[in-house]
Amino acid sequence: MARLNKSFDKALWVFHVNSGSCNGCDIEIVAALTPRYDVERFGIKLVGSPRHADVMLITGPVTKKLSEKVKRVYDQMADPKAVIVVGTCGCTGGTFYESYTLDGPVDNVIPVDVYVPGCAARPEAIIQGVVKAWEKLEKLRGDSV
């Protein structure tokens, strides 16, 4: 993985992908960004393009129609990057444990760094997940320097 640059010390920009989730985790991600939890004060910001993002927040059990698109979004993100799965269905399938139209869980489609279980994952858990990814990226920097 490429070396982390200095800007990483301050802020993580996240890109959110919905791979067929129920919206429960998605609204909790937005709740984490808005005033009650306000992660923007840590410089964590939701961006509109994968090319700007350090971290991918992915929700949902990955439907067949979307699995190619998820891979494409992952490839578009610049290295170094981290992937966080938010929600039980993305981690293990959860309540959608068997289906004819799912390609999940997420780690079957793209490499995953942090798993945040919960149905739906609470905003606190999502923030903790982002911090874990941060630690991991920091460590990577230590290794590569």
Partner: protein, 422 residues
């Protein structure tokens, strides 16, 4: 009429030397349940002349899964159809099962169901209002409404223990009671909203920016919504008084006088534009508060479950058979579940779910046609499909190459607001 005449691409002949009409796609990543969308637009300059809908990206095969599980397991699956309407689908599914298998529901449970469903409506409408504000480029308003929304999330967490997927419903009742000690706190939450609601409504209805971006944009007429079988606030904003709570009262709604809200109340007339949809949702928050207060005051002590023992409930469900329909007025409109259960069968034999957006899909077509690219995010959001769709869209040209990201589409929308402000 021949097939060639029907294709809209041919409805507008390209001017000599020009390439119009051109096509672009918005989507497909979109969060709604069965309605994740790709929009395929035909454009003439800035104006939408035609649109096609390509869906199914979120198709998880939930109905198929449900037919392999027992009714109680299916109930939890139903809850996870949509994280925003989790009370909706468990409500409609339990009602369908109760209708099919002839199971009575205790009166107290009916009130608790309605309280949860109405709290959900408040949270869903506030969420929607924030998203609409974001699409206009009014992010202060987004953060403000989402801050207010945390109040109702706290109330839901206080009652059910969860912020999302409340797990309150059970076939033949509810799983948790609202004890008398909980009532004052529920009133506190409602007082909080009652105190601040006037302010929210004032901002959304009187702010110049909001008015400029929403009035006379994205119009669907009453004829459009009736023939396209639209439901919920999308239909009511066009002047069609359709509301399951009123048309076919059910559960504890039958004990309360509920009037469907149409925009005349504020505006004096029905236009059917985005502004009307804001009016309907804003007033529905107020209505929900009244409904919850009504429920809390009418609720009498009593049982909350038809059969509290799970093993016995499952046995009884297995023994019985029948078919039934359950309907519920979700925040987005009528949701309907159909179930068929063969007696002796452990699983739900057949299950059909129809969420509200399913019926509202086609209503987007009249709304979008004739409007500008910059209005697309707002119009799409105005039917409340789900909030974050337009955050993550990509517009591609025919070759499939990305030329506009969702961010840029959002930027276009914000720029239009700025232009109008000058």
């Amino acid at each position: 009429m021949s097939a060639s005449e029907q294709h809209i691409g041919l409805d507008i002949a390209p001017a000599p030397g020009k390439k119009a009409p051109y096509r672009f796609q918005v989507g497909p990543i979109h969060p709604a349940l069965k309605e994740p969308m790709m929009f395929d637009f035909t454009m003439d300059g800035e104006t939408v002349v035609n649109v096609d809908l390509v869906g199914g990206h979120n198709h998880r095969g939930i109905e198929w899964m449900g037919m392999r599980r027992n009714p109680v397991q299916t109930l939890y699956l139903a809850e996870r159809i949509c994280g925003i309407c989790s009370a909706t689908h468990s409500f409609a599914f339990s009602r369908a099962m109760e209708d099919a298998l002839d199971i009575p529901v205790p009166a107290r449970a009916e009130y608790i169901r309605v309280i949860v469903a109405e709290l959900e409506r408040i949270h869903s409408h506030l969420l929607w209002a924030g998203v609409a504000a974001h699409e206009i480029g009014f992010d202060t308003l987004l953060h403000w409404t989402w801050k207010l929304r945390e109040g109702v999330m706290d109330a839901l967490e206080y009652i059910s223990g969860n912020r999302v997927n409340y797990g309150m419903f059970q076939i033949g009742g509810v799983r948790r009671d609202i004890t008398p000690e909980m009532v004052p706190k529920i009133h506190d939450y409602l007082d909080y909203y009652e105190g601040i609601l006037g302010k929210i409504i004032h901002v959304f209805l009187n702010d110049k920016t909001v008015q400029m971006r929403t009035q006379n944009i994205g119009i669907a007429t009453k004829e459009d919504v009736v023939k396209l079988a639209a439901v919920g606030p999308t239909a009511r904003a066009s002047g069609w008084k359709t509301d399951v709570r009123y048309n076919q009262p059910y559960s504890a709604y039958a004990n309360l006088d509920i009037e469907p809200i149409t925009p005349e109340a504020v505006r004096g007339e029905v236009v059917g534009d985005i502004y009307d949809r804001i009016i309907v949702r804003a007033l529905e928050i107020k209505q929900s508060i009244e409904i919850i207060r009504g429920c809390v005051s009418q609720m009498e002590p009593g049982e909350i479950l038809w059969e509290p023992k799970m093993a016995k409930l499952l046995m009884e469900l297995k023994k019985r058979g029948g078919e039934g329909v359950g309907r519920h007025e979700a925040p987005r409109g009528e949701a309907i579940h159909y179930v068929k259960k063969v007696a002796g069968d452990e699983n739900v034999t057949y299950w059909k779910v129809r969420a509200s957006t399913y019926n509202n899909l086609l209503a987007w077509v009249p709304m979008l046609i004739g409007d500008e690219i910059a209005d697309i995010p707002l119009i799409v959001a105005s039917a409340d499909p789900c909030f974050s769709c337009t955050d993550r869209v990509a517009i591609t040209n025919n070759a499939g190459k990305t030329i506009l990201t969702g961010e840029e589409l959002h930027r276009l929308s914000v720029e239009k607001t700025r232009r109008l402000m000058q």
